[in-house]
């Protein structure tokens, strides 16, 4: 042992010192770890993906209505899509009305971007509720790309992307950001109430609705749909489904604010076998000059 080269004898202390430095160094200095993290995910995916597929076969992901027949599910999915389109159109109408108003005052109008949807299987999960997807910058993904499941159920955003892989943070993850949403108080969606939803970490989100914002004729009820209406998210993601109201809690501290617990229509967003990535069909940087 005494005759080992110096580098061998000091390899352990040097490694420990380096790990300490890396652990406490600022985020900006650790960007080089991205490449190693991407390679690690690529190495692990050939074993993690088959296990995930096997698990999905043994324990199929829960669906919203297990008793419904295949035909009923297809019709319901079509209905969801049409409703989402209707609400998006209505929301787009409101936005365009505002934009026309701005245009008349000389403001620019942003072009309405088409969306292309890319379905990709979930390879596995990562520690901390992240999902690991095998596609990346090669298909135009960027940080913030919207991810859905079942066409209209919002899953989350791409939180990190490299050449061929990406990680997605579901909206229900405890470390996910708050999102602004709207509760559809009636079937047509003409009556809505805004709320700010906070993920609880158990697959649900909690939000508070100010009573003053709600018309007395309409009440917040269990089962009502909650949809995205947040300016922090892309325009094409507005009115995507966040979930339905699972329960309404009494707020003793602020009795005028009803507290709602929202659960996505997919029981566990971390266990979906496939996700759909929604990308703008046109590169915004190339279409900047178009009206």
């Amino acid at each position: 042992m005494q005759h080992q080269p110096l580098i061998v004898r000091w390899s352990m202390p040097i490694t420990i010192a380096a790990l300490f430095i890396f652990s406490l160094s600022p985020i900006g200095w650790t960007t080089w770890t991205n490449w190693f993290a991407a390679q690690t995910r690529v190495i692990i995916s050939p074993i993690a993906h088959p296990i995930t597929i096997t698990i999905n076969m043994i324990i199929p992901p829960a669906i919203s209505d297990p008793d419904a027949s295949e035909g009923e599910r297809t019709i319901r999915a079509e209905l969801d899509r049409v409703r989402t389109q209707l609400l998006q159109t209505r929301n787009e109408n409101d936005r365009l009305s505002g934009l026309i108003d701005q245009f008349s005052r000389g403001a620019d109008i942003m072009p309405n971007l088409d969306v292309r949807q890319i379905p990709r299987p979930r390879i596995s999960s990562l520690v901390g509720d992240f999902l690991f997807i095998r596609t990346g910058q090669i298909e135009g993904l960027t940080q913030g790309t919207v991810v859905v499941v079942d066409a209209v159920q919002l899953l989350g955003k791409v939180s990190r992307v490299d050449g061929k892989t990406s990680t997605v943070l579901p909206i229900t993850a405890k470390s996910a950001q708050q999102i602004q949403a709207t509760v559809l108080l009636n079937e047509s969606g003409s009556e809505q109430a805004i709320c700010l939803l906070t993920p609880l970490g158990d697959g649900t989100l909690r939000g508070e609705i100010a009573r003053s914002a709600v018309d007395e004729a309409w009440q917040v009820e269990i089962g009502q749909e909650v949809r995205l209406l947040d300016s922090q998210w892309p325009q094409h993601a507005q009115m995507l489904m966040i979930g339905t109201i699972e329960r309404i809690e009494r707020n003793d501290i602020q009795p005028l604010r009803q507290r709602i617990i929202v659960r996505p229509t997919v029981a566990d967003l971390r266990m979906v076998p496939e996700v759909i990535l929604r990308l703008p069909a046109i590169d915004p940087s190339q279409s900047g000059g178009n009206p």
């Binding site: 790990l19 985020i27 971390r270």
Partner: protein, 188 residues
């Protein structure tokens, strides 16, 4: 220790770790058993001191690389070090007490997995909390994490119990030959 067998088993264990997280999650967000800790504990029980420490560091670095932390801007970052140092300290703990342990009893692996997981998680929490003292842009709540990771450590006992059967069967392939007389099993 046969490093090729270690690398192959570690690859499968990481695959299981990542694929089974949503299944074994207790539904409370973040509470799930670790598959990697029992492997680290198993190596620490049988391998030579230096090999066990290096194995812990390697497993810890890979754990760091597959454990992104949420950023306040909605992105995520990978920080190398917290798990590696946590596993190293946990391994050191096992090396310090392994002389007095009944190594071939599966319950030994269960108990030391729970204890070493708790030690490793405390180190991880300490490092991220120390980062949080400065201008930390990560989403981090030390109290919340302590509760989650403590329960995860207890939950790790379950995975250690199942994996102990596999690991003890693979001990000769790893190149582990204990010279300690055992009460519960004969040497292969």
């Amino acid at each position: 220790m046969n490093w090729f067998v270690f690398a192959f088993v570690a690859w499968i264990i990481f695959g299981l770790e990542l694929a089974l997280i949503p299944i074994f999650d207790a539904g409370s967000g973040g509470v799930h058993p670790s598959m990697v800790i029992p492997l680290m504990a198993f190596c620490a029980l049988y391998a030579s001191r230096k090999q066990a420490l290096w194995a812990a560091i390697i497993l810890g670095i890979f754990m760091d690389l597959v454990s992104p932390m949420a950023h306040l801007d909605g992105g995520s970052v990978v920080i190398v070090g917290p798990y590696a140092l946590g596993y190293l300290l946990a391994c050191h703990f096992i090396l310090a007490i392994r002389g007095s342990l009944i190594r071939r009893n599966p319950l030994t692996l269960v108990i030391i997995s729970i204890a070493s997981s708790f030690i490793a998680q405390v180190v991880v929490i300490a490092i991220f909390t120390a980062r949080d003292l400065g201008s930390n842009p990560l989403v981090w709540d030390a109290g919340d994490q302590l509760v989650q990771r403590s329960f995860s450590s207890l939950y790790t006992g379950l995975s250690a119990l199942v994996l102990s059967i596999l690991f003890f069967a693979l001990a000769p392939a790893f190149g582990f030959h204990s010279s300690v007389p055992t009460r519960f099993a004969r040497h292969i």
